[in-house]
Every structure is written in C-alpha cells, then in structure tokens.
Amino acid sequence: MEQVLFRHNRPDRSVTFEEYCAEGGFDALKKALTAMTPDEVQQTVIDSGLRGRGGAGFPTGKKWSFVPRNLPGPRWLICNGDEMEPGTYKDRVLLEKNPFSLIEGVTLASYALGVRHAFIFLRRDYETAAANLQAGIDAAKKAGLLGERILGTEFSCDIDLHLSAGRYICGEETALINALEGKRPNPRQKPPFPAVKGLWGGPTVVNNVETLANVPAIIANGAAWFKGLARNPEGAGTKLFCVSGSVVNPVCIELPIGTPLREIIDQACGGLKPGKKFKACIPGGASTQFLSEAHLDVPMDFDPVVKVGSRLGSGAIIVFDEGHCLVEATLNLIKFFARESCGWCTPCREGLQFVKEILERIERGGGEERDLDLLRDHTRFLSYAFCAFAPGAMSPLDGLLANFEDEVREHITRKRCPLKG
C-alpha cells in the first residue's frame, strides 16, 4: 500500500533530518521555491482534490484561495494540532514519527499564501511531538530551509510552536485564534471568516496537521498522482485512520481514502477482540454519529460517510461490542462535551446539561417515553448554537436515536439498563 505520510516512518523512533532529506524530503520545497509561483502551488493543491483532515473536509486549496491577495499587513497560517476529540490520535503518531513533512508542508503553504510567520498549535500532552517538532524546526532553520531568505530566495518564513493547556474547543479555528492571541478561547462570530479577518485581525488560514503534511508529496508528485491514491473515484489521497475500542489491534494506519470501514476493522485491526461481537462504531471521532453493522461497507471518504448518516470527521474509529451499552457510551460522550463546552452560548452550555440528565435517568431506569422526543428536540435545536461544537456534540445522540432507538426504548420499558444485571 502506498504510504505518503508514513513513508519515512521508522518502526520505533522518529525519522532523522538527514534520513528525511535523503529520502527526498524538502525536495518539494526546493521545487516550489525555484520553479513554481505561489499561485501555481495553490493551484496544484486545488487540483489535487485535497480536503481538510481536521474534520470538516473543506477543500484545502479553495480555502487558501479565499485569502485576499492585496491586503496590506501580515497574514497568518496556523496549523491546527489541538487534536482533543476523543478517539483521535493520528496527528500525534504522525508527529512522533516524522515532524518534517509538516514543517515542509507549513513552509509550502506559507509560500503559497505569502505568510511570513506561521504557527503550529499543539495540544497539551503532546510533549514528545512538540519536542520532535521543535528539533525539526531548528534543524530546518539551520539548513536554510526556514527563516530568512529560504534557499537563497526572496521568501522568508518562520514557524512558532504554541503549546496549549488543554481544552477541546481550542481546536475550533476561531477559538484557536483567540487562544493564540492569549484571549479566552471562545469561538468568534462568523462571518467574518478567518481567511478575511483572523489572527490579530489579519487574513488567516487554519489547517489540520495531516492536511498540511500532505502538501509536500502533492507538490513533489503532482495533483493527478495524489488523486490516484484514493480507493473511490471521487476521493483523493490517503487518510490516517486511528482505531480504538474493542479490536484486537487498535492501530493508527495510513490507507487509501475510501477504504471500506469493514476492511479497516477486520484486516488492519485484526477484527473484534476474541469473544466479542461488533455492535457499533463511531467512524470519525467523538462528534460523529454511531454506525451499525449495516454500514460497515461504507467507503471511508467524506461524502460516502455522510450518505450513511455520519461523518468521516478526523478518521478516528471507535469500535463497540455487544457488551457495551450505547446509552452509557453516549452519556460518556455527552459528559465529555458538557465539560468541554466553552460556556459561551445557551444551547450548548445548558442543553448538554439537560441531555446528560436525561441520559443518566434513562440509564438508571428512570426514563420515560417523552424523553425520546425531548432528546430529539435537543439534537435538532442544538444545531442553532454559536459554533459547530454543540451540533457535533449531538451527533452521537443523533446516531443513537437513528440506529439504536430500540436499545434506548428497552432501557425505558424495562426500567433498567438491559446490559446491567
């Protein structure tokens, strides 16, 4: 299987700067700086069909093209490495194995966007990844691949590493901008979108770690090559899938985008743990809908997963077996979201507390039939929250009611959790 992001990986350590360079690393940067205009770099990324790996799947090149070209004053690039969505650990694995693809990708994106100063925002508890990145940045700088007049050209670029102190909402791009500015990381009202008015009021692009780490290979090998990597016709590139839960071998693995979910679980992860039977899975991190057995053949790409009622999200697959109570699983997720809400808007701050109370009651055996409607109201009306956090928080509940309503009902009619004695 062709490896793009994991191409340079060593089994149990990080690739060194020399090894990365020897294997063609930074060639894309050299190519771009010497033979391509910024617009050509952006066009190649547009043509490649690369979609954001941070969860929303927005076409990356298109996002870059929203930045007004002729505004005076600085513009910014932020690499989003907040990765606090439960189940997700792909960016950590990527950075612990190889910080250089990202460094090169950030530099390439900065070149395309005319950015002088880029930030990489990393979550707390990724200290190894952070050390790796800092060492990588220093090495690149020393080799003239970062800093003033890169490779002797007119282009200069610096990368600053910013380490957070832990809050899931910091991953939301406008909250992230506030976090970087040292303000309370509440999201900002959109519009204006960051591409127009972001960090310190300047045009700002926010991209995920994995997204940017893909850019060097795209520049080196071309858009068509990247498109050809996908398993499904509408897809482009590979995708990191990080699996957890009831599988034999919970791995973070790079596979062609569009690889069927079943294949990932059965082949890459060795199937369910001995004696366990598949019940459900979350395909893209905590803020995506549960899928059931019936959905296992879905190609893991953005649009197909939406078609079956969920989202590819971050590509974090969490597998549940018949021994897991999905009401309790949902309750766990809701508790996470209720704790992590930024507290800005009413639906999220208070609605999640309400949902938590209802699910707790159902799980305890105190649920009532009308609770189902009340829960549905919440899945519907939390989408009118201030940011995408609250609708995301409702996704698992939405999936629970769509695919596992019987299980919820059983709790209510039997007045207890059927899985608890």
Partner: protein, 154 residues
C-alpha cells in the same frame, strides 16, 4: 517566589511574543511547573509579567483544563475518562485508583505523594485505558498494572 533566572526567562518569552498576551499560557504553565499548581502568588506574578490584572490571568487560567488553581500535592495522576478509555473500562481503573490511594477525584493521598484527577482524552486511545503520572504515560491499564505503576512512582 520565583527565581530571578525563571523570571528573566519568562520576561524574555513575553518580549519575543507578538503581543504579551500571546505568551500567557506559556507563562502560566512555567509558573505551574515551578509551584506544582498555579497558586494565587503565581497568578499575581503572571499578571506582572504579562501586564494583566490578577483577574485577567484568572480568566485565562480557569478556562484551561490543565492549569490547576487548586493545590496539587505530589505527583499528579490524570486518568482519561473519555470514550475509548471508557470502552476499555476506565471506570474500573478510576475506582481502583481511588481505593488504592484512598482519595476522591481531585483529592491528594494522605502521604502527599499523589493527587488524582480525571481528564479528557489524552490522545492515546489505541492504548486505552490510559493515565499519565507527571509526564509519563501508561496505557492498557489493568488493576494489577496500576498497582505496579504506583509502586514504581511512589
């Protein structure tokens, strides 16, 4: 009180920032490293370094999960209670830790060696259930393994 040396290095961090506020999280984390948690004194010192009032530092400090405004005694044990770890039965691990250390969540053990808190996903979900003591991560926890780890870390 922080050392002149720490103060200097933090001042330097603030000076190299694009705006002083940008360095707020770094400053708070460094002070927390120094004191074990972000004490009232540390809040005041952070404010002085950053040109903010204590309240303005508090506004930031209390937003983040991993800035602690309550005493942390000894080593900090954070146990993940998010979904992948839940599926791997972190509830049992948390109960076990509470019993072993004879503490409630948020409390410190009588010998002052550990403080136990639950935390959000640590980004090591493949190794669920997971905890971190100080800066060391431990995965695939079982009650037996927890006992060994506590022994080692004590």
């Amino acid at each position: 009180m922080i050392s002149e040396q720490l103060k200097k290095s933090l001042q330097q961090r603030v000076e190299t920032a694009i705006t002083p506020r940008e360095a707020a999280v770094d400053v708070m984390k460094e002070l927390q490293r120094h004191y074990g948690w972000l004490t009232d004194e540390a809040v005041g010192e952070a404010g002085e370094l950053l040109g903010l009032s204590p309240l303005q530092v508090e506004e930031l400090a209390t937003f983040y999960e991993k800035i602690y405004r309550r005493p942390v005694t000894g080593k900090l044990i954070q146990v993940c209670d998010s979904i992948s770890c839940w599926s791997g039965c972190c509830d049992g691990i948390i109960e076990h830790l509470k019993k072993r250390l004879d503490v409630e969540l948020g409390g410190s053990s009588a010998d002052g060696k550990f403080t136990l808190v639950p935390c959000c996903c640590l980004g090591r979900c493949g190794d669920a259930p997971v905890m971190v003591i100080g800066e060391t991560f431990y995965g695939n926890l079982t009650p037996e393994k927890v006992d060994q780890i506590l022994e080692k870390e004590r």
